[in-house]
Subunit: 191 residues, 2 copies
């Protein structure tokens, strides 16, 4: 709970009542390793704060998995596009470790937005942060080499390789596992 | 003005006072063809509603221009990342026709957010729309062929080819002008 409050506080200072109202609608859920939080074809009607664990956001094209993003502790995980539009998800969200999350349903969040302008503002800040995250990723695909993308990835998540299988990281970077090994050796001297 | 009100009304119903407060801080600016609204290296401290004209959002890497987006009438144009973060823009925003826009400065917008919760909510909706636009573009780069991207582009903007030089469209699609000609012939039967 303290982690969520700190996360919010960095964006908007909520008072105790406002925070209590959010807590009241949050539901704790535990997932085992490999369990799906969201399946392809389902509408994503939640955002979830990760207390413990790591998730991948991926889909399958012609039997091939493509990883779009990883989500870690102390951030929100959601298919925010499906959440906003009500369209079925084209992606899976899967726990890669035993995980614990706090789920907030869309209907509850909309009620809080209407009731508390500061929570509405919190929603604006979260949307803005997501916008920045996805533009950074678009830029990295348009303008960076796989090696640059690798370097910024390990800078953000130094423990990534200990928690996520290497073939998923390769998929995320858009390279083959063999290329990733070569890049990794070149950049870090490790293998 | 009516175009702006309609645009806002589709997102949040503002009352006359709230709309008047926005109008009060908007400044009309005319740009000639090829004039820059934003230069690389400048901080983008505005959002601008396009009343007339078309803009491109692009940058230069080693002397080569790369077009990221086009902006048309009845939408907002901005480097929203630079606007949010206060970091200098890595992009240019350039008018491709004689254009007329309404500029809102960041400092004014922040004051309105503080004063009017419904305008703050409007800001959330705009951030959410931008998030959806950029995720769609990221998906199109990760998963669509240039031909699919071409088709969705002309579906969104049937008059695009009459207003924007073909080499810029090719740059936006990530193909050579020659490939674009071939795709265009194949898809539309035109050349």
């Amino acid at each position: 709970m303290q982690a969520i409050r700190s996360y919010f506080d960095k964006l908007v200072k909520l008072n105790d009542l406002e925070f209590a109202e959010i807590v009241r609608v949050m539901k704790k859920v535990s997932l085992s390793k490999k369990e799906f939080l969201l399946n392809e074809g389902e509408v994503c009607d939640f955002v979830a704060f990760i207390e413990k664990g790591v998730f991948r956001y991926h889909h399958e094209i012609e039997g091939e998995e493509k990883v779009i993003a990883f989500f870690f502790e102390r951030e929100f995980v959601s298919n925010y596009r499906s959440f906003l539009t009500g369209q079925p998800s084209e992606y899976y969200i899967q726990a890669l470790e035993e995980s614990e999350i706090w789920i907030i349903r869309k209907a509850d969040l909309m009620r809080l937005y209407d009731k508390f302008p500061k929570i509405d503002r919190l929603g604006r800040f979260i949307a803005e942060r997501l916008f920045l995250a996805v533009t950074a990723r678009l830029d990295s695909f348009l303008f960076s080499s796989p090696e640059d993308r690798f370097q910024s990835l390990i800078k953000q998540n130094p423990a990534l390789f200990e928690r996520v299988p290497q073939y998923m990281i390769a998929s995320f970077l858009g390279v083959t596992p063999e290329s990733l090994s070569r890049i990794r050796t070149r950049v870090t001297g490790n293998y």
